[in-house]
Amino acid sequence: MTAIENAVPAVSDRLSRWTLLIFACALVNFLLGQALIVAGVTWPEVAFTAGSTLAAVHLITLGWLTLLMFGALFQFVPVITTKPLLNQWLSLAVLILVEFGLTGMTVGFLALNRGASGLARCLPFGGTLVLAGVLLAMGNIVTPLLCSRPLALPGRFVLAGLAFLLATVLLGFTFALALSVPAFTPLAAPLLASGVGYHVLAGLGGWFTLTAMGVSYKLLPMFMLAPEERGWWGECVLQFGISGFGLSVIAGLLSVWRPQAVLLNAVQHLGWLAIAVAVMAYLIDVLRLYRTRKRARIELHNRAACGAFLSLAAALVIAVVLVASHRLAAYAPALVLLVLFGWLSGLGLTQLYKIVPFLTWITRYGHQLGRDAVPRVQDLVDEARTSPWFVIYFLGVALAALGAFINVAYVCRTGAAVSAGATLGLGFEYWRAWRGHYAGRTRPATPIPPPYLSRGGPAP
């Protein structure tokens, strides 16, 4: 045995101090985005490219999912790499820049709806702040990743995801300039006309999906006591994922200017195929992970995450059918909705149900360990009370996706309202966990210690 550390620091640098605040802001943004959809001012009631739709989409993608990913990465990249972040305060700066930038973008998008060109200038202004926030976040996250050798599989997923994030944000910034600054419009007109889909693909696929896969490769084994080593399957998912999303986005963007190029079209289809292989391999590997877990009775966040994996599987099947039948463009918004709400937001909400109590425990009870009786992380939540919210959430998503695919707006809105209600319910449960609402009632107070504190086996 090799001792690598023998000093206990007074204050842990393994805790990301701003992650819980970032999660809270992200959840508020998600609820605001959902509220716009439920109010009927976004697609499918109006065009997918309408300003109000773009406002809702960016509240969800930038305000919710990107901040959620940043908050999670600020906490878990040091876990993956065992190296600290560049600076804890950078995390707060990122939150401020992204929130202000998003506000500017939302005002700009809504102004586009009303043709208010003055206020539309908020769009590139907000975009600049978001770009600055993203660059700061990347610096904070990439530093420990680059200091870690060899970099574990989850870290390599995150690095790839961040590269796609940069591409997504730069593309988005170009769109913002084209939409609001007349001088840029002719220059970026072809990109604006047929390049938006690749901005969406780079974001939803390259950034969110690859990063979510990488983080799940650390979290799922850790919480289910399953083997972390993913071997050939993990490599397959990573390599096919990077090449698939990379080829599709690059060839797609080039084809904006050369739409008739046969080679670009072939490369793009090769990319689609690689994405399908990556997603299928990931889903099979996740199934293997669940089957080989040592923890027989898994916790709610891992049970509920199955809804997200099912959504991803459904999205894969539907996407394959749509690409094969050349109908992808017609149903792309519905597919985006399924991926955004079912796979990405579903996974995010379920994992928050573990991460929030865990960080709460560290913040509130960590320093009492060894000095006093402390609750367990499990004691901070009430799974029986929360599990219906996850069921309702995924049922709402299924209904909204159905409405989107059959193009019946009120069905889509009803589903969105159901999932928004469930998100609110889950938000209250995260709040209760953070407030220690359930901790007192399950705290060990009896003279006879509970089994998890009692002597149960031979001495080491």
């Binding site: 045995m1 550390e5 006591l225 960080l359 560290i362 360990l369 000095r371 149960g456």
Partner: protein, 108 residues
């Protein structure tokens, strides 16, 4: 100088049962995180590991072991060595912890 007698190894292990891994929600002794324990000259030397490298609760668990050790009469210092070899696995749990987590015993 302390007037208390030196605590036995068994006594110290019993005390460390009060330190939990917060995520698994079970004491670190039965989970198998304690790899070695020496008691000598009012000093406890604990060799321990974590369930996963870089665990966010790592510093708190180590501090918890130190604080619980220092509360034992006669103990003046607690020396903690964190190790990663051999890596922890669920098979390092005691039978009662394995039963709690419904983990099959693979030991021959």
């Amino acid at each position: 100088m302390s007037t208390h007698a030196l605590p036995s190894r068994e006594y110290v292990l019993d005390a460390l049962h009060e330190v939990i891994d917060p995520e698994l929600g079970y004491n670190i002794v039965d989970i198998g995180l304690i790899y070695g324990l020496e008691v000598a000259d009012n000093l406890i030397k604990v060799t321990l590991t974590m369930t996963t490298p870089g665990c966010p609760a790592q510093d708190y668990i180590m501090e918890g072991v130190k604080q619980r050790g220092l509360r034992i009469p006669g103990v003046q210092d607690v020396d903690i060595h964190l190790v990663w070899e051999p890596p922890w696995s669920p098979q390092k749990m005691t039978p009662i912890a394995k039963a709690h987590f419904h983990i099959e015993d693979d030991t021959p």
